[in-house]
Every structure is written in C-alpha cells, then in structure tokens.
C-alpha cells in the first residue's frame, strides 16, 4: 500500500463515521458513543503500556478525576462544561505529573504495583468525600453546549466524541513518527540504550504517562456530560482492568488498536449482557465478570500480540520512498588532532569485594584510535560503562573535553559528545533500521511534543532522516532502510549500532567489541570504515578481542589485567611486551 492509499482508507473511515447517525438507530449511536469514550482511554494506554512499557492498573482513576472535576464544577458550582474541560485536564494531568514524578523511577512490576495502589486510593477517595456525594455520586450534570445548542441527543454528542477520537488518533500517529515518539518507542527494553543516546528516559516516560492521563481526562469529561451523572463505580480497579483489556486486545502499542479493542470489549460486554441471562438465570452479573476475566486470561496466554498487529500482518507492506536529500543537520566542531579529549584519572570501581577497575589512568587523544585490550574479566566493559556514565566510579575522576563528567548522568555525557555501542547488541528489533539510526539524532534535534504531534517541524525531521540514511549508507546498510532491525544477522546489527552512534555526530566513538560475530570480509570493511572516520578527525576508543583487527588498526593500546592497567603504548611495543604475553598466554616457563 502506498501512503496515498492509506490516506484514502483513513478518509473513507472518517466519512463512514460521519454517516453513521443517518444509518443507525439511537441505540447503536449510544453504543458508539461509549466506544468512542473508552477508545480515548485505551489509546492512552496503548501509548503507555504497549509503547512505553508501563502497565497501568489505575487508568480508570484518571478518568474519574476528570469526571468528578467537571461534575463538581458544572453541577455544583454552575459553571460551563467547557470550563469543566479545562479544570478536568489541569487536575488530571497535574495529579498524573505528581504521581508519575514519584513512581516512574520504579522498575518493572513494582511500578505496576504502585499503579494498583494509587488507583485504589483515588477510587476510595471518591466514595468517601462528602462534597462529592460519597457513594451516591453527583447528579444533575448539564450537557455540553456549543453556542446555544445543547448536545443532548445521542447523535449530537456523537460528533463531538468521535471528533475527539479522530483528532487524537491523527495526533498520536504524528507524534509516534516524530523525534519524541521514537524516543517513546525506544523505552520498552531497558534504560541503558535510551540514556546512551542522550535521551532522558525518565522525562520521556513521564511525558507518556501524563499524555495517557490527558486522554483519560478527555474521556472522563465526555463521560460525565454524556451520562450526566458520576458515581465511584466505573472508576474502581475493575474499570482499570477493562481499559487495560481494551488496549491489549486491540494490540498493545497500536493507536488504532485502542479503538478496535474498545469496540470489541464494549460490543462483547453488550452481547454477554444479552445472552448470559438465557444460559444462567439470576447469576448473569457475576458470570459476566467471570467470563470476561477468563477470556482475558486466555488472551494473555495465547494471543498477547493483539488484533490489529495480527491483522496488519496480512496487509501488504506499506511502500515507502527512501528519505529525500535535505539540508544537513548542524555538526559539532572536532577538536584539533592530538589534544587530550578524554582523561581517566585513578578510576576505581568495586562490586562488593571485587575490584573490577583498580586505579586506572589513561588519555584518549583527539583523532586517534585507542584500543583497550585485556584477557576476559580484565574490567574492559566495566571501564566502558564508567566512561559513558552507565556505572558510577567509586573514586577517581573522568574528564571529557576539558570538563569533569564523573558525576554527570548518562544522558548528559551522551549529549556532550560520547556515542557508544554495546558488547551485547542493544537495538529496538521492532523498529526499522532508519528509526533505529534516527534515535541517534535525538540529541542533535529539538522538535517537541506539539511540534511532533502537529507536524510543525518537518524541515528538521527531513534533515534528520537524510542524515540517518547517509549513516546507513556509510556502514553499508543503505539499501533497505525500512527493514526491521530484528531481521538483521548479528554482524549487521553491530554495524547498525555504529551507524546509530555516528548519527549522534559524536566527538568520541566508544565501541565495545565491534568486530565480534563479523566475517573476515566484514571485518576488513569495518576496519576501513573506522580508518575513514579517523581521517575525518573522529576519535575512537574500542575494546576488541581480535588481535589482528586491533593491531592493524589502532594508534595506541592500553592493556588491562585483573582491573589494573598493565601497560600502554604503540601496537608493536605492546606485542613484544613480556607482561602482556604473560597475561594472555601465561608465564613462559
């Protein structure tokens, strides 16, 4: 499918939505209204859970905050629902920002458990606050008015609800295809990679969290003015798990999946309410929840992928043209060759009783390739992690480009010009080659949330895409930019990591075993690439086990053994050094 065809399908879908009230009766339209309202929450969860990797069991509480906010403001204080919308958004996003700020540093299941906790606590609050009608709820909420028209009939508010849904879908797709959206998509799978690209993972996670709460707020506002009544029931834990179900059944990580999931669950619920009483008289309420929970468990056991990604597998792949040439992104000025760029001074790192790096000092000079070698367990990777801020030093100092970076966060170090690759390749296998490399340009570009969602900053995006394609071509992967990274063989994945690092326009490139898993021809090509980078005055620090590769390539070598520096010098001198030979081969008896 071409982008034009995709757009035509989208236009047809919107026309279908516009025509619906002329075709269907009011019962169907009411059902569609609820589907639209639930869709908004499910889309937020698709972003948060499917893309950001944060499983939230408390989303219904956010819907509740918004519904109660607008309910109290309009029903009790008599203000306009539009003012209620502002209050609902401000309050919900404010609460989300505070909760997110406090809890989003938690890892994995602990984070999800905290969502259970605040989800319950907020739901209990609604039922116990006198001013909010306790468990009786708030009634007499006015309908939304546009000008002098009150949206009372279900087809009237239908257009408002689905207008919101369509706008939210479009904005989400724009956002996901922008700089921040790529950072969001990179969140799932661990912080180390994200931070090494100069992206503050916590900020992106918080942004995603507040965005999901914002969609929940829109939903809560519409819900309050559609049903004209709010009570604590729909905002309890049970509601949250239903929203989670919608997002996951539709396809976690798919914006459209949110709508599809909301539709399926709502229709299924409707059907279950119709047919269960025929099977079991009098017990249908209980059976409904059992049936739903059982179906959800079965779904989680068998088809976690979700419906939309499953169906998308049958559609023809979208045919996208490679990025066009565009104005280049601004580049950093490389320091004069020979000046010290990175300085490690008496660096030490202990893990419990083990001293992994012990009092190691060395310099990396501009425009040189420095090799860090040593037998297994010598502390090379630990040293790398210390230099890039993935680990903290216990003592000693690390300075980069004249400034101490010893206490800097990983993403700040990355932003100041150190780009790295990993010994165990860290890519986002579900993203394309181009998107993986585009992640590298994050710290060189500046498009924000609104710029991304409204497609305001397309010139910068075009430049970044062009840059990413150039880097892919430079490492020899330019022919299939839209291939998924997970489909590459291991050797090419390593090379892709180098392209990503180059896209950051670094001062210092730090490579952890770049030649591991490469065939001989590929190694030769890699060595050639690294030499050409050196001739462009890029500085490179690399760890490598392949001695032939190292000796023929690097300018100087630092040898580590048992965490300490053994010696330092030019390849020929290192090769003939007796201490190095002993460390590698054992003592010559």
């Amino acid at each position: 499918m071409t982008p034009l065809q995709i757009r035509l399908v989208g236009v047809a879908a919107v026309l279908g939505l516009v025509a619906a009230p002329f075709v269907f009766g009011s019962f169907t339209i009411t059902l569609l209204n609820y589907i639209g309202i639930y869709s908004l929450v499910a889309i937020g969860l698709a972003l948060l859970t499917g893309i950001g990797g944060v499983v939230s069991f408390g989303q219904a509480a956010f819907v509740g905050i918004a519904a109660y906010a607008t309910g109290a403001l309009t029903a009790q204080a008599g203000y306009s629902p539009w003012l209620g919308l502002l209050l609902a958004i401000a309050l919900t996003c404010g609460v989300a920002a505070i909760l997110g700020y406090v809890t989003l540093r938690l890892g994995g299941h602990f984070l999800s458990l905290s969502t259970v906790a605040w989800g319950l606590a907020i739901a209990f609050l609604f039922g116990n606050i006198e001013g909010l009608g306790r468990y009786n709820g708030l009634s007499g909420i006015p309908p939304i008015s546009i000008g002098s028209i009150a949206l009372v009939a279900s087809w009237q508010i239908y257009y408002l609800i689905w207008g919101f849904v369509v706008v939210v879908i479009v904005l989400c797709y724009n956002l996901l295809d922008s700089r921040l959206g790529r950072a969001m998509r990179a969140l799932k799978g661990g912080n180390t990679l994200v931070e090494s690209l100069g992206i503050n993972a916590f900020h992106i996670r918080l942004l995603t969290f507040v965005l999901a709460a914002f969609f929940a707020a829109l939903s809560g506002w519409l819900y309050a003015h559609l049903s004209r009544f709010v009570s604590p029931g729909p905002f309890e834990a049970h509601g949250s798990i239903e929203y989670l179900m919608m997002a996951m059944v539709g396809g976690s990580g798919s914006v459209l999946g949110g709508v599809v999931g909301a539709a399926i669950i709502t229709l299924l619920k409707n059907a279950v309410q119709d047919y269960l009483p025929l099977i079991a008289k009098g017990a249908s309420g209980q059976l409904e929840i059992v049936a739903f929970a059982a179906l959800f468990i079965l779904f989680l056991q068998r088809a976690r992928q979700g419906i939309v990604p499953f169906l998308a597998g049958f559609l023809p792949q979208p045919k996208l043209a490679p990025p066009q040439a565009a104005a280049p992104l601004p580049r950093r000025e490389q320091p004069a060759p020979g000046t010290p760029l990175l300085k490690a001074d008496a660096v030490e790192r202990r893990f419990g009783g083990l001293v992994a790096v012990n009092n190691v000092s060395f310099d990396v000079r501009s425009s040189e390739i420095l090799g860090l070698i040593g037998p297994n367990g010598a502390g090379k990777t630990t040293m790398f992690n210390l230099l890039t801020g993935a680990l903290r030093v216990n003592s000693g100092d690390i300075a980069f480009a004249g400034k101490s970076i010893t206490r800097d966060a990983q993403c700040h170090i990355a932003r100041s010009g150190i780009a790295r690759t990993f010994q165990h390749v860290k890519l986002r296998p579900q993203m394309t080659l181009l998107d993986n490399v585009l992640l590298g340009t994050h710290s060189r570009t500046s498009t924000g949330l609104f710029g991304g969602a409204l497609r305001l900053n397309r010139a910068e995006e075009a430049s970044a895409r062009c840059e990413a394609l150039q880097q892919l071509q430079r490492v020899g992967l330019g022919d299939k930019p839209y291939e998924l990274a997970g489909n590459l063989p291991l050797g090419n994945q390593r090379v892709l990591e180098i392209a990503r690092a180059l896209a950051a326009d670094p001062l210092l490139l730090v490579l952890d075993e770049p030649a591991a898993g490469l065939r001989r021809q590929e190694k030769l090509k890699l060595a050639e690439l690294l030499r050409s980078l050196r001739s462009d005055h890029l500085t490179i620090l690399l760890v490598e086990h392949d001695m032939e590769f190292v000796m023929s390539l690097v300018d100087r070598i630092v040898v580590l053994d048992f965490g300490s520096k053994l010696c330092e010098g030019e390849p020929a001198a290192i090769r003939s050094d007796a201490r190095v030979q002993e460390a590698y081969l054992g003592g010559v008896a």
Partner: protein
C-alpha cells in the same frame, strides 16, 4: 488519644497484622518459587472463612462446587496437553492428581458432614477444602505462561482476582458471615484487656511461620523449594521440577491463607469480596521485604495492621486510602535501597 486507647489500638493492630502476616508469608513464598504475584491469595483467605461459616451452619459450602469445577477444568487441560505432547502414558497419574485427589477431598468433607462433626474437625475440613484451589488455578492459569515476565504474570493475577470475585459471589452469595469465636477466654496484660482470639491469632501466626521455617531448613522438599526460588534453571538441572515446587508452594501458601481466614472470620465480617483488601494489605507488608524476605514481610504486615488500626480510629472512611497511599513511599524506599538489574524487561 490516651495511653489506654493507644494500647488497645496497638494490640488490635498487632492481631490484624498477624492475620495479614500469614497471607504475606504465603505471597512471598509463591513469588519466590514461581515469580507469580498471587493477588488472589486474599480471596483464598476469605473463601476459607465463608467455607467454615457454611460448615458451621450445617450447609454444604460453595467451595465444593468451586473445587469440582476447577478440578475438572485442570484435569481436562492437563490431559489435553499430555496427549499433544505424546505422553499419553502419564494420563492416569494426571487424572489421579488433578481430578481424583480433589474429588476425594470433596467426598471426605461431604461424608464427614453427615455425622455432624465438632468445631475443630469443621476447621480442618474447611482447610482441606480450600487447599486444592490455588494449585488447580496454578495449573489452569499460570502453568501455560510460567516463563513469561513478572509483569505478564501480574496482569494475569489481577484478571484472575476478578474471576475469583465473580465465582465467589456465584458460589457463596452476597451475604457476609462472621463465625463463632474460637475461644471466649480473655486475659489482662498490664491492665489492658486482651481477648483470647487476639492471643490465638498471634500464637497461630508465630507457630505457622515457625513451622514454615523448620520445613525450609530441615526437609529436603523445603530445600528444593528454596533452590527453585534462588535459580529455577539450576534447580531443574539438579532434578527439581519447578512445576512440582510451584504446586507445593501453592499448597503451603493456601494453608497459611486458610488459617488466616479462619482466624479473622470471628473478628471481621467476611464477604465474598473481602479477600481483595486482605490480600493487598498483606501485599503492602510483603513489599517491605521486597517480596523476598519472610521476616521483613511479617514485620511489614504488623506495621500495616497497626497503621490501619490507628487510621480507622482517627478517620475510618479514609483508612484504606491511607494504607494504599503508604505503598508508594514503601516502593520508593525499596527501589532506592535495592539495585535491581535493569535488563530483565528486554523485548
């Protein structure tokens, strides 16, 4: 608040905390062995109380239906998966463990109830009836995804809780129950009146945690369970089957939860859905120990019990809000004090 009131609230809190402690220890046990955060544990405790109440009223408890349904389902799933794996020879054994054994328990209860047994026997029957539920649920729900992430297992647990809540209403009905106190004795400690029930609760919590400790340290099965908790693959290489270790953990945990249900039933009115809050409060305590330490989990639940007791005195409407809000600072404290390895969530 006077000193006397504080002392009474404190003792009350300790008793509540001891009940949660039993559930929390079971939660930690199951998490360690299977990595499942078994939220429905509170439901097991509540179901035990409801079962005992039905037995006391000389009625057949809903648990019987629940066990029969789950046993049939588990047996069916096990047989189908054995046939698919081409291990038809193991079918008789599977039928024995997943169908005959649970039905045997049901039959024993049914027969014993005809001779109108005394209270201690009824308690025993209630515990016997509740024990098969968690292992059967393990087979039906968790075994197919035993290697999934903790997060996936947690999502399944939350869904399972809702299923159990619905089943609870179906099998036990909406009425709340409060069973007869196990003892009417009372003692005075330093001028404070302490009911025999409180003493019994604390004693039972101590005895059962002590038994668990002995089981872990002095039996081979206990050591196998600990080995599985430390490293599943390693344990498997040593001939320990993680699935079997999981079943034992669920049985033991159910026993703990069942005892706590029996202890709390005379103090609080228990409904079909009371389990969720019991389970979650136990859970808040277990988090104090990072879901891995038994003594810290017990201490944490005592803290939760005392906090809840004082909170309900100050503002009963907000006591649950306070307890659950507390989980967030505890989680934060855990996350800052423990170095969790980050790459466990790789795609």
């Amino acid at each position: 608040m006077t000193g006397d009131i504080a002392a009474i609230l404190g003792i009350d809190g300790i008793a509540t905390g001891a009940v949660y402690a039993l559930v929390a220890i079971g939660t930690v046990l199951i998490f360690n062995v299977t990595r499942v955060i078994f939220i429905p544990f509170g439901d097991i405790a509540a179901f035990t109380a409801l079962t005992l109440a039905a037995l006391d009223a000389k009625q057949m408890p809903g648990t019987i239906g629940l066990v029969v349904v789950l046993a049939c389902l588990a047996c069916l799933i096990e047989v189908v998966s054995l046939v698919r794996a081409g291990e038809a020879r193991a079918i008789p054994k599977a039928i024995f463990f997943y169908l005959v054994l649970p039905l045997l328990v049901v039959a024993i209860v049914w027969l014993t109830m005809r001779i109108d047994p005394p209270a201690p026997v009824r308690i025993l029957l209630a515990l016997m009836l509740i024990m098969p539920i968690a292992p059967l649920l393990d087979r039906i729900v968790y075994r197919p995804i035993a290697d999934g992430t903790v997060l996936l297992l947690l999502t399944v647990s939350v869904a399972l809780h809702f299923a159990l809540r619905g089943l609870g209403l179906l099998f036990f009905g909406p009425e709340g129950v409060r069973t007869e106190p196990l003892t009417s004795m009372a003692i005075e400690i330093a001028g404070i009146h302490v009911s025999g029930q409180t003493v019994l609760i604390v004693t039972a919590a101590l005895v059962f945690s002590g038994l668990l400790f002995l089981f872990f340290d002095f039996t081979l099965t206990g050591k196998a369970l600990r080995a599985t908790a430390v490293n599943r693959t390693g344990a498997r290489l040593m001939g320990i089957r993680p699935a079997r270790a999981g079943t034992i953990a669920y049985l033991l945990g159910s026993l703990m939860a069942g005892v706590s249900g029996i202890l709390i039933a005379p103090v609080n009115t228990i409904f079909y859905d009371s389990g969720f809050l019991i389970g979650l409060k136990a859970f808040v305590g277990a988090i104090v120990g990072g879901l891995t330490s038994y003594p810290l989990a017990a201490l944490g639940t005592l803290g939760v019990g005392i906090l809840e007791s004082f909170a309900s005195f100050e503002s009963s409407a907000f006591k649950d809000v306070i307890v659950f809000s507390l989980l967030i600072p505890i989680l934060l404290w855990r996350s800052f004090t423990s170095q969790h390895t980050e790459e466990e969530v790789e795609e």
